[in-house]
């Protein structure tokens, strides 16, 4: 099997070497790319994923080995997040936090209240300035559950650099500990500290 050793090279040289190997090897063949540069590894993974080229990767002592298969096939790459943490969020965060004390917004019809919360959370993503943190307690923690309608939006906000704090006691109360896999399960001390140090607190 071909081994493309790009150790010591800076981006985009490793990606160019990968692209070259992709052109040269025959359909159905495999080859390995080695890099010792994290950014290059992330970019190569990203490139392969975007172009739907199956690969798997291992890391050993700061060297990544990427096994690439040319041709049709199932992408064996299962956990992109584990490899490709967004390194540099460009999003600007303001000196304010948003606190969700309930999964509903306002008094009145409960379904309407839930819909308003959803719309509110979707709107946050488009703000010029993102909140520094978002805190969830009492029934607010339900918003972070994997089956919540805003789970994806919150997970995106998390990736954009917004810290998500869920009250641990509340998650236990609603038996949601297993279902909240974004942000962190936190305690009242951290929540109190976070609220006390924020410039502004928004409570929808």
């Amino acid at each position: 099997m071909n081994i493309v050793d790009t150790r010591g090279l800076l981006c985009p040289a490793p990606l160019i070497a990968t692209r070259k190997a992709l052109k040269e090897v025959a359909e159905g063949e495999k080859f390995e790319v080695m890099t010792d540069n994290k950014t290059s590894f992330n970019n190569i993974s990203r490139y392969l994923r975007d172009n739907k080229i199956p690969f798997s990767a291992t890391e050993n002592n700061g060297t990544w080995t990427i096994l690439v298969s040319k041709g049709e096939g199932e992408n064996t790459y299962t956990e992109p997040e584990a490899y490709c943490t967004p390194e540099i969020p460009h999003f600007s965060k303001g000196d304010f936090i948003i606190v969700f004390t309930s999964d509903k917004m306002g008094e009145g019809d409960e379904d309407l209240g839930r819909l308003l919360t959803s719309n509110f959370i979707k709107a946050i993503k488009d703000l010029d300035t993102l909140p520094g943190r978002m805190i969830f307690y009492n029934s607010g923690v339900k918003l972070g559950s994997v089956d919540s309608p805003v789970y994806r939006d919150l997970s995106e906000l998390g990736k954009m650099g917004v810290g998500l704090l869920f009250c641990g006691t509340c998650a236990r109360h609603y038996s949601l500990e297993e279902k909240i896999n974004i942000g962190v399960l936190s305690n009242m001390f951290e929540i109190a500290q976070c609220m006390a140090s924020a410039g502004n607190i928004i409570k929808p």
Partner: protein
Amino acid sequence: MKIDLLELVENGGCSSKIPPGQLDEIVKLLPRQADPDILVGTETHDDAGVYRINDDLAMVFTTDFFPPVCSDPYEFGQIAATNSISDIYAMGGDPVVALNIMMFPSAKLPMEVYSEIIRGGAEKAYEAGVNIIGGHTIDDSPPKYGLAVVGYVHPGKIITNSGARPGDALILTKPIGGGIILAAKKLGLASGNDVDEALRLMKLLNRSAATAMKRFDIKGATDITGFGLAGHALKMARAGNVTITLDMKKVPLIGSALQLAESGCIPGAAFRNLDYIESSAAISEELDYNLKMIACDAQTSGGLLISAPAGKCNEILAELHKTGLTESALIGYVSEKEDHPLKLK
């Protein structure tokens, strides 16, 4: 003795910026500014700050400096100065005075290199009608150079990135792909012609484009630099609360930027910019992968992206072509805000 400045820069094609997330944390700690004469401050991510002096005059103020993007010191000085002054043009201002900002390794490089960089900067400043009236140098390696520039603008005629309106057409005044060409040059993959063209464009002042904007009373524009065409278009869309559609097939490219991208020569900054736009952009299935990456290619001293009323578009283009910006092209349009602030097709 021939000095190649690029040999002093370790940071391959991957840029040397501080992560903006970390920077935001620090900026947050600064005291708030409530002065009503601050017409454009830090909040809107504009190209420069604007401060009102009286009802007829405001000051546009900006600074920018970076490590070498090319081998020749004189050329580096020209590019850095052009890039610094560009922010004034993008805001509709006339640049007036500037200060040199220099970091230079005096033990490592002969002082002729220093004077060549400064000479390049001075030449561009002169061409732009800017007087350099001072500066500051510290010892540091690799060298970094740029200007702090002050310009004038009428408080009612500031051009900002929030000025794009539904129905506007988008004009780009310089071709893109410069980041790819420079990365290819470092690896010995770029043709001499392409490198020359990329350097020529980086040294080209955005002055005639700014003059055209003023003549046609343009309200919205930004200059295309580190976030790439797509990144700056997204910022513009967000600031104006509109949706921007870019037709990547109409975007002028430098030389063989597309072929280089096809061969995998895609700098790290393009991937970072892709991360930045992705969640806010609707990217057409049909858009060629390499064109998408070119949309994200970071530019140095790029052109202006001008949001112009559709009716004036042809006249403005004719004017731009006449003044030497022959590759200026209509590359997209602005519409009412949709789910995605940016669309690439």
